[in-house]
Symmetry: C2
Subunit: 162 residues, 2 copies
DNA sequence: ATGGGTGCAAAGGATTTGCAACATT
DNA sequence: AATGTTGCAAATCCTTTGCACCCAT
């Protein structure tokens, strides 16, 4: 197979990629699309389990063998800055990201550290920045903390055993 | 000056300390009071600028020369666990504490990292745990992010200069 | 004498930085 | 050519851990 065939194939893939939803989303938010950025946002938009930087890295490094953690850090921060993703820091030692930028409540379990979306709860929404006491508010986030369903039932079982 | 005098003096100080508000507060929340714990909570209750672990350490290590960071970490975590203080992790690299456990909204400036209380905003309150979708919710926290008054006016000045 | 509290030093982890190579325009 | 992007390696910073000492009951 010659170089010309490879080039044609690459051009075809490139063209296909530009048709994707993720590509468009990046462009719309002013982020230059690159292979890595597309892959990372793609991952965020298909995994709603609030992945950490390392989760994203480990999931993608097999598909993009040259991927580095630095790039994942940079890209996720970039996406958050451009409001394509949300950065969640509910707990120390639990920095994670969420591709869903629609307002919704996050719940973190003190026991297992899991982050859960609570769509049933009323979340503060903010379409455009507002000013409060002179401060420009761009984002609102509501967090709940407690014990999740699974951990609560586990604790109950343990109580009975004791 | 003999040992008996020193002992009497120590006993007097001890007695005085037990009369303090901070001492009572610790007892009420099931935390055994120690010199370090009293000092740390005292600091939290008189400094409303959302100090980090290091802020607390640096402020107190001159007064208690033997104080270690480990103790400050342990104590602040202990206070948060016993709901004598709030642990705030609004941003990665910005873990701080708040001695005010009454519900109020926190605002963090993306520019300078400062944390400000917004008492004018309606904050979610939670007197006792509630159950949502099987999860036990013990705390609710509402965070805002954006640009603070000072940074916003600085940015405006720079715009004019350019 | 037993358990809890403290503090040092070391280990551990997560994130950032500097820099060189690379891709894209 | 110029600018932006990537990725390695090293550095940095924050936090935890292990252990020994100390105090109080």
């Amino acid at each position: 197979m010659g170089w010309d065939i490879l080039l044609t194939f690459a051009a075809y893939l490139n063209h296909k990629m530009m048709e994707t939803e993720v590509y468009t989303k990046l462009i719309e938010h002013g982020v230059r699309p690159s292979l890595q950025r597309i892959a990372i946002l793609q991952y965020l938009l298909t995994h709603f389990n609030h992945p950490t930087v390392d989760d994203v890295y480990r999931a993608l490094c097999t598909k993009i063998p040259t991927l580095s953690r630095t790039t994942v850090y940079n890209t996720l921060r970039l996406l958050a800055d451009h409001h394509v993703a949300q950065m969640l820091t509910i707990d120390d030692h639990h920095l994670c990201y969420d591709g869903n930028v629609e307002p919704h409540v996050h719940f973190i379990c003190k026991e297992c550290g899991k982050v859960v979306d609570l769509f049933s709860e009323k979340a503060p929404s903010l379409r455009k920045p507002v000013v409060v006491d002179g401060n420009i508010i761009e984002e609102k986030q509501l967090f709940y903390r407690g014990i999740c369903k699974e951990c609560a039932s586990k604790a109950k079982v343990n109580d009975n055993v004791q």
